[in-house]
């Protein structure tokens, strides 16, 4: 048996260890563990066949995300109906976009709603993992992938832009908007779970220091 080539060694040392991150991404893209597993297998097979295209020492993870996303999108026809719904939703959401922060902007809404009861948002820590992941899965596809790559996997705007194939500005606006949708959803979850008192009278004691 011949000794492993450099590409083989790189594949073993840099590419294969990313399987957990790729599985998480695949799971959020595909929605079910069974589909996610097929997607991961296909992603690594394609990566292996194209191993010479990977430059050692660069971010193997970003490279794999790109492959994974392409594999997923190629299977799109099979779930065209599902994707139609997703696109409809993202169309609606995009209309309400132009996200920045600041007073009156939607990003502010949840904070403003709870700031008198829980100004530092300690209730977020009480929202269970399953509900958070379900809320992410419920995001329109365009928003979901940037939120997953950025907030779950820690890619920079530039890296996300490369994976998704859109300008950085688009990444940013989708990311901000996606987070806003998530916050609204999870705020509702927190209210339902009793983590925040829905009808609590807004405390207006002198302690707050607000006139």
């Amino acid at each position: 048996m011949s000794p492993p080539t450099d590409a083989e060694r790189t594949f073993r040392e840099e590419v294969l260890p990313e399987i957990d991150a790729i599985y998480r991404f695949a799971l959020r893209l595909a929605g079910s563990p069974a589909e996610a597993q097929d997607l991961v297998q296909e992603t690594f097979l394609r990566a292996w066949k194209n191993r010479d295209a990977y430059t050692p020492g660069t971010r193997a993870r970003s490279w794999l995300f790109t492959i994974c996303r392409n594999v997923f999108l190629r299977g799109e026809e099979r779930r065209r109906r599902h994707e139609e719904i997703v696109r409809e939703q993202s169309g609606q959401a995009a209309g309400a976009s132009e996200a920045a922060t600041g007073d009156g902007e939607p990003d502010h809404a949840v904070f403003m709603a709870v700031k008198d009861r829980d100004p530092e948002g300690t209730f977020w820590a009480g929202v269970v993992d399953e509900r958070i992941l379900a809320a992410i899965d419920g995001l329109p596809g365009d928003f979901r992938e940037v939120v997953v790559l950025s907030d779950l996997e820690g890619l920079s705007y530039r890296e996300v832009a490369q994976v998704v194939g859109v300008p950085e500005g688009t990444v940013k606006s989708r990311l901000f908007r996606g987070r806003q949708i998530l916050k609204k959803e999870l705020h509702e979850v927190a209210l339902e779970a009793g983590l925040l008192d829905r009808d609590a009278p807004e405390p207006r004691t002198s302690e707050g220091g607000e006139p």
């Binding site: 594949f11 998480r24 297998q41 904070f111 100004p119 209730f123 977020w124 907030d151």
Partner: protein, 107 residues
């Protein structure tokens, strides 16, 4: 009465600069400017100088700090939920098997 005109001019100027925050201008930024950069600051996407100014403002301004803490708590919850997930062990075995049928060799 020149000093009256001067006083009016100074008041007008001061009003133009007034921020929402009476303690204000930590890091040389208004609360609104700091809030506008909150997301990018947490994403580590600002240049060094702006990042320093926004950081000073958000960490030290009594009005803005809760907003920062709120956003951090939200992100920590999302990250925690995501980190809980790992690829199932049999998936790793399955992927290795598929790769071996394409010529990959375990050492």
């Amino acid at each position: 009465m020149n000093w009256v005109r001067e006083l009016r001019r100074l008041l007008k100027e001061a009003r133009g600069k007034r921020t929402d925050d009476p303690d204000g201008l930590e890091g040389g930024l208004t609360c609104q400017e700091a809030a506008d950069h909150l997301q990018e600051w947490l994403d580590s996407e600002l240049d060094e100088e702006m990042a320093a100014r926004v950081g000073v403002h958000l960490e030290t301004c009594a009005r803005c700090y809760p907003r920062l803490a709120f956003e951090r708590a939200f992100r920590e919850a999302v990250e925690r939920a995501a980190r809980a997930e790992k690829a199932p062990p049999d998936l790793k075995a399955r992927v290795l098997q598929a790769l071996e049928s394409e010529g990959y060799r375990e050492e």
